[in-house]
């Protein structure tokens, strides 16, 4: 696959914008109501409560920053790496919840919980999202030119 061909560039650009917009959208609801997001994170029963509150305060801003960086095309290696790591963490959390039989809201895109229960459908969605983020990360690394950190990559 020639990652530098025009067609591939446009495909990955569309993918980058789509994933970036998705994470910006996911972040907004959580930024508006960190208390509700903390309750959803706590429902997974994976972290001690102090870490739950830190995650609720910080994670939405991390998603927002990385989503925006993906859209504008700056600091792509760092942004894509973080989003990939986040997706893998979410996947582990969903698998853990399913294994424990927890009937809870995902907390992925909305703090209201409607239509976002943990289940096989949510698991498949997250696996797909992880694969797409992985593809973006791989493309970014493969086409990156060596520049100082503060200049990012094209």
């Amino acid at each position: 696959m020639n990652l530098k061909s025009d067609r591939m560039k446009w495909i990955f650009l569309a993918l980058r914008w789509g994933i970036g917009a998705l994470f910006v959208y996911a972040a907004i609801g959580k930024i508006a109501n960190p208390m509700a997001f903390a309750a959803q994170v706590d429902n997974y029963r994976l972290l001690p409560y102090f870490l739950v509150t830190l995650v609720a305060a910080i994670l939405p801003w991390l998603e927002l920053c990385c989503g925006l960086l993906l859209i504008v095309g700056k600091w792509l290696p760092g942004a894509a790496l973080i989003l990939l790591a986040l997706n893998l963490v979410f996947l582990i959390a969903i698998i853990s919840a399913l294994a424990k039989g927890l009937d809870i809201s995902c907390g992925c895109f909305s703090v209201s919980g409607e239509g976002m229960r943990i289940g096989i459908k949510k698991l498949i969605e997250n696996i797909l999202l992880s694969l797409l983020t992985m593809a973006i990360y791989w493309q970014v690394l493969s086409t990156a030119t060596k520049k100082p950190i503060y200049e990012g990559t094209k």
């Binding site: 930024i31 508006a32 109501n33 960190p34 208390m35 509700a36 903390a38 309750a39 959803q40 706590d42 429902n43 997974y44 029963r45 001690p48 409560y49 102090f50 509150t53 830190l54 609720a56 305060a57 910080i58 994670l59 939405p60 801003w61 991390l62 927002l64 920053c65 990385c66 960086l69 600091w75 290696p77 760092g78 942004a79 894509a80 790496l81 973080i82 790591a85 927890l102 009937d103 809870i104 809201s105 209201s112 919980g113 409607e114 229960r117 690394l141 493969s142 990156a144 950190i149 990012g152 990559t153």
Partner: protein
């Protein structure tokens, strides 16, 4: 190609630091901020005075609020404990709504509770339309971390019901002190 080149790692660390500063900074003055505590905060049960109109026998001595607050006026869900639930139901001022699946309901539910599964609400529109508006609708599910009771309560509030509350401790708490009813029948609530 390295899987995590230095450039990606350093950029990631800086992004994480910036997001942490922004997140903690905004949280400090956010109206719905999370408190950075080590222990999970206890549930905030509703004050007994909230039910004074429905339960004249409720002892509200010592309470400063002589006028009970309007139910759900603040937008926060009203959370009941088992004692308040028992008083309201035995005085026929409340209806219990089980937000879990039919199978979970039949495995054991609160006496007198009606099944209204949150994940299958589209099949229960008629039952929702027939719910009384002058009685408390108390929603519950298994207990933490299950949040189906809360979700059902929010849905009922959106549909215009005013007197809605959540027994957040759920079936797991109820079973410690009182019996549950098995099967499809709602059963009788023993006073």
């Amino acid at each position: 190609m390295k899987w995590i080149p230095k450039q990606a790692l350093w950029q990631g660390i800086i992004i994480l630091m910036v997001a942490t500063l922004i997140g903690l900074g905004v949280n400090s003055f956010h109206p719905r901020k999370v408190s950075l505590t080590f222990k999970r905060p206890p549930l905030k049960y509703a004050a007994d005075s909230l039910f004074a109109e429905d339960l004249p026998s409720v002892n509200i001595a010592g309470q400063n609020d002589s006028v009970p607050p309007t139910p759900n006026a603040s937008g926060e869900l009203i959370i009941l404990n088992a004692g308040q639930l028992r008083q309201l139901v035995s005085q026929q001022q409340a209806m219990l709504l089980d937000a879990r699946t039919p199978a979970e309901y039949e495995a054991g539910h609160l006496p007198g509770a009606m099944l209204l599964p949150f994940d299958l609400l589209y099949d229960y529109e008629q039952q929702i339309n027939e719910l009384p508006k002058d009685k408390w609708l108390i929603c519950y599910c298994e207990g933490p971390p299950c949040d189906l009771g809360e979700l059902l309560a929010k849905e009922l509030l959106l549909r215009g019901f005013q007197k809605v509350a959540v027994y957040q401790d759920g079936v797991n708490d109820w079973k410690k002190s009182y019996p549950v009813i098995k099967g499809k029948e709602a059963g009788e609530f023993e006073k």
